[in-house]
């Protein structure tokens, strides 16, 4: 009997232990401590980086001083964007007589057009046929995704080798087609070609996933209606995967502001003709010898185009999302 009561008492003691614990700290307090500990570093890192970088960028964009750690308010950095864009002094290498600032803008916009009107339709078609019981579909899908895995330095190097004399097989191919490979394709055309060549895989994976989520019944009813590839593609596939198309159009549009690695690595020695908005910023920011006013100018330049382009992206996204509203797999 004694033993039992001791055992009971012991049991009570062990069961009561958490109660004593919770009296000292309520559940809410313990939750709060846990949340604070878990979020402390990530939130602090984010706030410091975000605040420092963005407020810093704003102050740099309006800074006219030529010295470090000095601030003189100016709008000159923004004015310079317009004077450069409307400059009548043409770029020496450009056969259309455009000024360098316009070339940078057109090069950057080119990535948006190439992505939306060439890469996206191509990868959409590729993904559609990969879903049609294509022979070796999984092998193709794995190979097409490879450019996203390989270091960009190695990938651009491999691509560059294909038109480097004396062993460039791509250059030989162009010559065989009667194209003067010394003149065409130009550096910028090659960068675009590279973007299409290396950029299909990622889109194919996203499109394949979206097409895979379309209910089989839709394809079956299209088949019963004797709809060919064409009808099935435009009346079943495109409406059903519209949200994925919108996402990738948005990604294509952000390329205008963010893309610089491709021209930076591909056109080592002839970079002037392939400059983009982001490359201009990277080249100046990454140059240890850059003067403060140069840094201020590229900051203003980047912020200006972000402010112009970001609302356009959001507007396009909004307008595109309205079509085929309510459908999406």
């Amino acid at each position: 009997m004694n033993d039992i009561s001791v055992a009971l008492n012991n049991d009570q003691f062990t069961r009561e232990k958490p109660r004593i614990h919770s009296r000292r700290f309520s559940k809410k307090t313990l939750d709060a401590i846990f949340i604070i500990v878990m979020l402390a570093y990530p939130v602090l890192q984010f706030v410091i980086t975000w605040a420092f970088v963005n407020f810093g960028a704003l102050s740099m964009a309006f800074n006219g001083s030529e010295y470090y750690d000095d601030f003189q308010f100016t709008l000159y950095n923004f004015e310079k964007i317009f004077t450069d864009l409307f400059s009548t002094v043409p770029d020496q290498a450009n056969f259309l007589g455009l000024n360098p600032a316009t070339i940078v803008l057109l090069n950057s916009l080119g990535y948006c057009l190439i992505t939306i009107f060439i890469s996206l339709p191509l990868s959409l078609l590729f993904s559609y046929f990969l879903r049609k019981n294509m022979l070796l579909a999984n092998v193709f899908r794995a190979i097409f995704f490879l450019p996203n895995i390989i270091p960009i330095v190695a990938l651009t190097f491999a691509f560059r080798m294909s038109y480097t004399t004396p062993f460039g097989y791509l250059a030989d191919m162009f010559e065989a087609m009667g194209i003067n490979s010394a003149k065409y394709p130009t550096s910028q055309m090659l960068v675009y070609l590279y973007c299409i060549w290396a950029g299909l895989g990622y889109n194919i994976i996203l499109f394949s996933g979206a097409i895979g989520r379309i209910p089989k019944e839709l394809f079956e009813s299209a088949e019963l209606d004797h709809a060919g590839y064409f009808k099935e593609f435009f009346h079943v596939v495109i409406p059903c995967i519209w949200p994925t198309i919108v996402t990738l159009v948005v990604v294509g549009m952000t390329n205008v502001l963010t893309l610089y690695m491709h021209p930076y690595l591909l056109t080592n020695y002839d970079r002037s003709s392939t400059y983009t908005i982001a490359l201009s910023i990277f080249q100046t920011a990454g140059n240890d010898g850059a003067m403060p006013n140069e840094l201020h100018q590229v900051t203003a330049y980047g912020l200006f185009f972000s402010v112009i382009w970001a609302p356009i992206i959001l507007l396009v996204r909004h307008l595109m999302s309205k079509k085929y509203e309510g459908i999406g797999y």
Partner: protein, 296 residues
């Protein structure tokens, strides 16, 4: 019976026509796939064969043939070749350190934030999720000089610590991926753990993290590949003599054009680790890429 049915079918001639059209289109597309697939593989196969040639063999004009002499030693020799004061071997080591350290930091911290935001109710919870989505969707460029300025102010430039500081930013893709992973795990596991007197940290580390193992591994692989291939962060913030392969090889290839087989060997050294990861986890990588893309 089947033949009889088919012969009486009123649309049979149309179906046959469609079938012919289907097959021809399918074979044309197959050929296009084959050509595109080969165009992706060929440069690397060509580099691999040429990486085993001696410099004399390659520069002597043997660009497309088999090696006259099998120079496997290229891969060992190139490891001791230098860019500035740094050997390729050191670059490889730096790539390993930044990749493993950065991945552990980023995925680990993203998991902490994702778990708390997904499972605990507190003021600002929705705001944190919104911040992550906003920073992924809206691009702001032009802040790079300001970021460099910040790193200099904190004395984080020219150091590995600086790279880790930037890699530890965790309101991005991994946060979104792991947030949805933790959201889909039932709260009853947390409750069961608390009944067993497990504290909040123990519940997170011993119960919830193992349950989200799949998405965590997927996020780690994608992050590791991203950091292995990252150019901008190490280029800007690591000391010149301690660069990663991604940055160092760009200089190496422009400085060593007289010895292409060595450059090819160095490129292959940078590709092999990510290729191994890809071969081992191909399905998971593709699935997670898909999951990440959906969130846009």
């Amino acid at each position: 019976m089947k033949d009889l049915n088919e012969s009486y079918h009123p649309h049979n001639h149309i179906r046959k026509k469609i079938n012919y059209g289907y097959h021809i289109t399918k074979w044309i597309v197959f050929l296009v796939f084959l050509v595109y697939g080969l165009s992706l593989l060929f440069p690397f196969l060509w580099m691999t064969i040429n990486a085993f040639k001696t410099t004399g063999d390659f520069s002597g004009g043997n660009y497309f043939g088999w090696p006259k002499e099998f120079a496997g030693k290229n891969f060992i020799e190139v490891m001791s070749m230098k860019v500035g004061n740094e050997t390729i071997a050191i670059m490889f080591l730096m790539s390993v350190i930044t990749t493993i350290g950065g991945t552990l930091l980023n995925v680990g911290l993203s998991a902490c934030v994702a778990y708390v935001v997904a499972k605990y109710k507190f003021p600002g919870r929705g705001f944190l999720y919104g911040v992550a989505i906003f920073s992924m969707v809206v691009p702001i460029v032009g802040t790079l000089p300001s970021q460099i300025n910040m790193m200099q102010t904190f004395h984080l430039d020219n150091s590995l610590l600086g790279v880790f500081f930037l890699y530890s930013s965790c309101f991005g893709f991994n946060f979104i991926l792991l947030y949805s992973a933790f959201s889909s795990i039932s709260n009853s596991y947390m409750e069961a753990a608390s009944v067993d007197c497990a504290g909040r940290f123990k519940t997170f580390f011993k119960v919830m993290l193992p349950m989200a193992k799949g998405p965590i591994i997927a996020a780690s692989i994608l992050t590791a590949i991203g950091y292995w291939n990252d150019y901008q962060t190490p280029f800007l913030y690591l000391p010149d003599d301690y660069q990663t392969l991604a940055v160092g090889l760009q200089k190496f290839q422009s400085e060593n054009q007289a010895s292409y087989p060595m450059v090819f060997a160095s490129m292959l050294i940078s590709i092999v680790p990510v290729l191994i990861l890809y071969v081992c986890f191909q399905k998971r990588i593709i699935e997670s890429t898909n999951a990440g893309g959906l969130k846009g």
